[in-house]
Amino acid sequence: MRNTAPHGLHVPPPKARPGEVSAFSALAIPPAGSVRCPDIAVDPRDIRDLPYELIRVLDEDHHAVGPWAPAVSPDLLRRGLRAMMLTRAYDERMLKAQRQGKTSFYVKCTGEEAVAVAQALALRADDMCFPTYRQQGLLITRGWPILDMMCQVFANTRDRLKGRQLPVMYSSREAGFFSISGNLATQTSQAVGWAMAAAYKNDPRIAATWVGDGASAEGDFHHALTFATVYQAPVVLNLVNNQWAISSFQGIAGGEKTTFAARAIGFAMPGLRVDGNDFLAVYAVTAWAAERARAGLGPTLIELFTYRASAHSTSDDPSKYRPADEAARWPLGDPIDRLKNHLIALGEWSEDRDRALQEELTQMVADTAKEAESYGTLDKGAAPSVKTMFEDVYKEMPWHLRRQRQELGV
């Protein structure tokens, strides 16, 4: 045997910390259109190379190129652009509300809007989503009223969730949006269960779920992969690799030497890695995976490679752990700009229309926020009635909760 030297414990460091220069130059970014697009009926064994690629559609000149370029109408693209812009305007406004004390907490998805928005458009409206806290774009794209979302953020009298949930932990059965859990990754195996139920019922609907790079380390995600494989569940497993989990970079989640899409290989599952800031690419891979699931061909793992451009949440200050300029230097750009430029390149959009839309959305969000605030905000104590605190623990209130409610005198 070879001789053994002491090695110490390896603890992976990120490429740069505050005060250092962000080092995205080492990032290999393949040109748009360079990755092949297999048929959905492909044997997963024949695409074991794909998890190491990066599927991109929009090229430097804002054109959609290559085999993954989806056949989509300008209308659909404009819907996507609008939903992304609305999502961002909504986020900005809610951040402001948090700063004003109208709510205690907020989570933006800045820079990651294409993930939820393009995926919502690629799925059918009645497919079931099991998201994390950073896919508010799903609700917005599905046309769910931002007024309703705001009322929850403000925990006011119109909050359907009766002030029980943190802001951003939305739930909308009607919109096919599962109640978000504070406990990371639990939704992934639940999505598989929902998909198994749909298969059991011969229901053409499929499930989709989202998990962060950080949260993918949880056992639940492993269970999701395993159960999805075993039962060939009609589910799309989305792993949003925005490269940060609060303060820890993706290497701490196991991404130092490989991609997250590659996790799929060991389960004989297709693993696709996509430029998460490329609306068209995200749309295309999602449609591919959804079609596969719907055709009974089983689950797909999609790694959406993106960058968390903002703080983790309003409780977080990223300048403490990563270079302040990192977001600005992120080479895959901004998903909204990129789609806008594409539409302009197509002759289907213009700076003027963009400005007008921006204004319209900002106004609409401001007006809606005003209305939402009129139903109360957290700091104004316009909470749902205290009695409701004891409801919905069980379908019927057992004696001990009834007595506790009496004890509180409500």
Binding site: Q190, G193, W194, A195, K201, F227, W399
Partner: protein, 337 residues
């Protein structure tokens, strides 16, 4: 009426419900083709097909996560955790998800799950095949916890659990599967066929959750027990000649507080018996409630007879098990006070 042992009764409950409701599916480790390591699901896959009773990967959290998703879809999953000792990996899905889903979604999504959990010792299973963790689940709001003590109740309560729209932990005392165990391992085993509650209708019937049963009326002292310990308490009453009123709680949460209070108010004395470790076991909650509700009726300190606060030791399990001797001592002690 056919005589059934407790496994057959549990099997019959699932059989009855699979036939009645196509939304019920059953899964867990080894429950499919083989019919479960305790054979509780025997024959169900053959009768209802591969999709309705199937094997799962060995991942208790995965089983529960999938069940929560199915429940959100609209199915009514009935899952088996092979041994209570293996429920801990699934705790997060139970506590943070199944138990909380109705509340956090304000009723938009529910978790109408039934989790069957063989529990308890007395089978030389050592520390990881003998535990009684029911106390933990009674601390988790949003869950219901049920433990039957005989085949008739097992079927009726399991049917109620399956029909319940909230998640129910259904603990099955393994030591009772084949017969009503009185706590004396040296005595010849008796079988359910000779017990009145071993007669179990083939057809549908339900026993409501939240209702205790008085298995032995008495005047001197109230014994609160459930599962295996009901039979141990009966043996202790018989052996000591003390006129104990024995309540089989059947459902721990929601508890039948009225039955408890009525009995202790009458007897003025209370012994609580469970197999789980003592500290912070469900007996603690029972003691707290009894003294809260019956303080002025109590003539002696409430006694707890429980498993020791140690792991369940393999070869010394009869020294660990709270048998009729220890229960009898407690009965005498409260009577002397």
């Amino acid at each position: 009426m056919p005589a059934m042992n407790m496994i057959q009764a549990v099997n019959s409950a699932m059989d009855t419900m699979l036939a009645r409701n196509p939304d019920i599916v059953i899964f867990g480790e080894d429950v499919g083709y083989f019919g479960g390591v305790f054979r509780a699901t025997e024959g169900l896959q053959r009768k209802y097909g591969l999709e309705r009773t199937f094997d799962t990967p060995i991942a208790e959290a995965g089983i529960l996560g999938v069940a929560v998703g199915m429940g959100a879809y609209g199915l009514r999953p009935v899952v088996e955790i092979q041994f209570a000792d293996y429920i801990y990996p699934a705790l997060d899905q139970l506590v943070s998800e199944a138990a909380r889903l109705r509340y956090r979604s304000a009723g938009e999504f529910i978790s109408p799950l039934t989790v069957r959990v063989p529990c308890g010792g007395g089978i030389f299973g050592g520390q990881t095949h003998s535990q009684s963790p029911e106390g933990i689940f009674t601390h988790v709001c949003g869950l219901k916890t049920v433990i039957p003590s005989n085949p008739y109740d097992a079927k009726g309560l399991l049917i109620s659990a399956i029909e319940d729209d909230d998640p129910v932990l259904f603990f099955e005392p393994k030591r009772l599967y084949n017969g009503p165990f009185d706590g004396h391992p040296e005595r010849p085993a008796t079988i359910w066929a000779n017990h009145p509650r071993g007669e179990v209708p083939e057809d549908y019937y339900a026993i409501p959750l939240g209702k205790a049963a008085i298995v032995r009326p008495g005047r001197d002292v109230t014994v609160l027990a459930y599962g295996t310990m009901v039979h141990v308490a009966e043996a202790a009453a018989a052996e000591t000649g003390i006129d104990a009123e024995i309540l089989d709680l059947r459902t721990l949460l929601p508890l039948d507080i009225d039955a408890v209070v009525a009995s202790v108010s009458k007897t003025g004395r209370c012994v609580i018996v469970h197999e789980a470790t003592r500290t912070s076991g469900f007996g603690a909650e029972l003691a707290a409630l009894v003294q809260e509700h019956c303080f002025y009726h109590l003539e002696a300190p409430i006694q707890r007879v429980t498993g020791w606060d140690t792991p369940y030791p393999y070869s010394l399990e009869w020294h660990y098990f709270p048998g009729p001797g220890r229960v009898g001592d407690a009965l005498r002690k409260v009577m002397e006070a």
